[in-house]
Symmetry: C2
Subunit: 543 residues, 2 copies
Amino acid sequence: MGERRLKHWGWGYEDQAPSREQLREAAAGINERLGFGGEPEEAVPLDQVKLREPRLKVPSAFGDLFTDEHYERVVHALGKAYRDVVRGLRGEFPNPPDLVAYPRDESEIEVVLEWAEAEGAAVIPFGGGTSVVGGVEARFSDRPVVSLDLKRLDRVLEVDAESLAARIQAGATGPRLEEQLKEHELTLRHFPQSFEYSTLGGWIATRAGGHFATLYTHIDDLVESVRAITPRGTWASRRLPGSGAGPSPDRALVGSEGILGVIAESWVRVRPRPRFKSSCGVEFDDFLAAAGAVREISQSGLHPANCRLLDALEARTTGAGTGEKHLLVLGFESPDLPVEDPMRLALEIARDHGGDPRTSGPTGRKPKNTIGLRPVDRGVEAWRGAFLLAPYLRDTFVACGVLSETFETAITWDRFEEFHASVIEAVRGKVAEICGAPVEGAGAPRVSCRFTHVYPDGPAPYFTVLAPALRGGEVEQWDEIKAAAAEAVIEGGGTITHHHAVGREHRRWYHTERPEPFALALRAAKKALDPAGVLNPGVLIDP
Amino acid sequence: MGERRLKHWGWGYEDQAPSREQLREAAAGINERLGFGGEPEEAVPLDQVKLREPRLKVPSAFGDLFTDEHYERVVHALGKAYRDVVRGLRGEFPNPPDLVAYPRDESEIEVVLEWAEAEGAAVIPFGGGTSVVGGVEARFSDRPVVSLDLKRLDRVLEVDAESLAARIQAGATGPRLEEQLKEHELTLRHFPQSFEYSTLGGWIATRAGGHFATLYTHIDDLVESVRAITPRGTWASRRLPGSGAGPSPDRALVGSEGILGVIAESWVRVRPRPRFKSSCGVEFDDFLAAAGAVREISQSGLHPANCRLLDALEARTTGAGTGEKHLLVLGFESPDLPVEDPMRLALEIARDHGGDPRTSGPTGRKPKNTIGLRPVDRGVEAWRGAFLLAPYLRDTFVACGVLSETFETAITWDRFEEFHASVIEAVRGKVAEICGAPVEGAGAPRVSCRFTHVYPDGPAPYFTVLAPALRGGEVEQWDEIKAAAAEAVIEGGGTITHHHAVGREHRRWYHTERPEPFALALRAAKKALDPAGVLNPGVLIDP
């Protein structure tokens, strides 16, 4: 389509791929820093990727709605989990869609669904393709597959500045919708890590977690109404600030991961851009003391925009700390109200728990309140940079033989200490066992933890694993670690996912977590709306 | 059971019923104040109420689980809408349950469901019986009915002070659960108008709206997990502060109005009792200017606990004002943080919109910040008193021939002005037409409006109608007014209910509002969980 193209594997655009020379330098740096990782492996180029022949022919009746182009089939074949990046690097695309469809409007979505149903094909709705749970990969072989890419539906259709809401098409990526909202001096401020590529529809389908560490941050809370195309008609809810009319139809679609309908557009709650901002890093010697500070802050009614706790290892890995101290990244922002007072109160709480605000950090600068400026604390800045760069860096990790993957959950405060200890122990043990690496010291695999979101009743811990990869056996290696992690999470009472969704990857643990009568209800709902099972088979429920 | 008994009709306990003399005095006062209403009619006494014979025999196998006692059948026969109070007063109980069951635990709920299914009977879950939408009335004649009263399940089973959560049985009324939480210096602070009688399970089943005018106030947001008994097993979700694992199972039960399962208990989010409180009334000459102030406050991030706008007529009716000014009741509260600053900022916004804070009101006292004390502003106090007394007063209204009923909705800000005007006009016109009363002046029916909750994207307007009743034809009279109101609400883009639920009364308009594919999904879910259609037939979906 003449635009900047996504890399056919891994993260980012084609023009962002590092050169051979850069990769070699990175490999040396990674090994020096982590104590593992080796020579960079080169990715199989796009033209050498072998795909199975398409099992569907591009229908001639619908113009350029469908394509079977090689690049398109490759780039829609996998998500962005570690296992996907590994396989992409190696040119392994076992389940490519047979066709890719790019609808321009709702009627074309209907065309795709009807045509697919008539052909006995499945349809996988595709937003940014950033699923890390196999949500967009057709892991079934009983029928052909159309990947339904919503990227042409990328407009902000209407802005209601009085109610602070906007009607936005499902295929708009984070930057696309923010650039259109900016014209109205408004913002959705929903910044998942995948922000650059993922889409509003994808966020709604997967219950994405957003920018804010507290208060309304899930897309669940930002949705005012939704329109979705189902095989049995259009699911369109009313724009309402609130309603008590039966179970919420929006909440039934939010998290439905493409099995009930294709989200076409949504009215979402937006807000004025923040004018007041304050940001500060707080160091702790003791992780549980830091967690205690976070608990108290989350229950204080202060509602920080940022309240992300990084354990010492995570702080070191992301360059936000030296590895001795745990780092709490605190931030407040508001379009209307000064934020000095809540920051002061939050810092008081942090100090009560042994926290040391970085009054002079690596920069020698004091944390200060900034109006319309970026935060100045370097640890905080480093963390933000690392947060957005992480998915790019991972491609390099993978090429250099470094296992790099994450998992995330949520748990109530009363169980957190034991939960955290048991999850870390289970994963560290399994990583050491599988990687044959030392548990501690130089070259030891890293299992670190941060909080991505916090609630009055508990945190959402997010774990990162960095370890020497078993080259050629990466997928199986990770699968074993993942199983140990997921079992510890489920055993400890957590959720199998706080904001990564279920997809195909989390199915078996999700089945344990989900109330069985709800599974019956969901299966029945699916059957009623999609009797032919066209929509994303194998996600959430049995295909 | 030897306890204080509920009146067999209307609101409150038997010992709260006014004497004949009191009623006569009240009638005179009402007529003087409203310009309509006449001699009080006496209620048909309990022992003269005629019920159809029970179509079920109390089974002997289950001890005192079931009863067919006359009083019990009467008191479970109706809800608390105007039409219910009218019929109760006249001794009209056309659809009494055949039996009433009082389970003591989950296994007894299962017994009731199984026994009823085997007998071909329906089961109506019953909390406080305060439904104003026909939610507990068996308006069907094709099968016998068991009213399943949860009142014996009224305990706080567990308190997790660290996560600020409590595990509470579904049959606990507001006062019962608050008295148990108080021992832990905690509170749910969920105060619907029916607080004294309604129950946690009822709140969850009907998506009740709570104490707070902004932020987390719906029971939807306070539920951490739920256990419900369905005909196909126990629906038990995990205690989680947040999750992204598929559509929320809790949100599917919240608002299910007893058609999917019987809610047995729930972990809910509680909080420390507020130590800082501030409350103030602000007067406005112009209702839309006041609404503008509310809009700006709701979008400011100040999160007032109270932000209830009463139009001048509503303020006069409730004794909170003289009828010339519109009154905004503003309140802030916090367990931890002083509330002077947010109150000051909110009052600034109110002033910018022409609001006049009652620095010297009827009491001559200034609004002041109170710590652990009740608010001092008399308009505010009067409003609070009237809020809680309203349902009691309505029995007297009904006895004296005064039509007294409410309806409520929610709408986005951009549509509010036109919506409000058209709803008020439609209802005033219909009331005048039916009651043959003047539209304005002394003796005119009253159609007034207040906001019960406000969101950044819109208010939840609540309308009250007071008019001369057509004695003997009250139900039909109200039905016509209600239809005009509901049509104006639906036509104007509102929701048929913001927190009163759908029940049987709102069905026909709910069908317009609800996305059709969601109706298909809900019906299928119901069929999967309750194939015999035992649970609350005729609520939300076709029986």
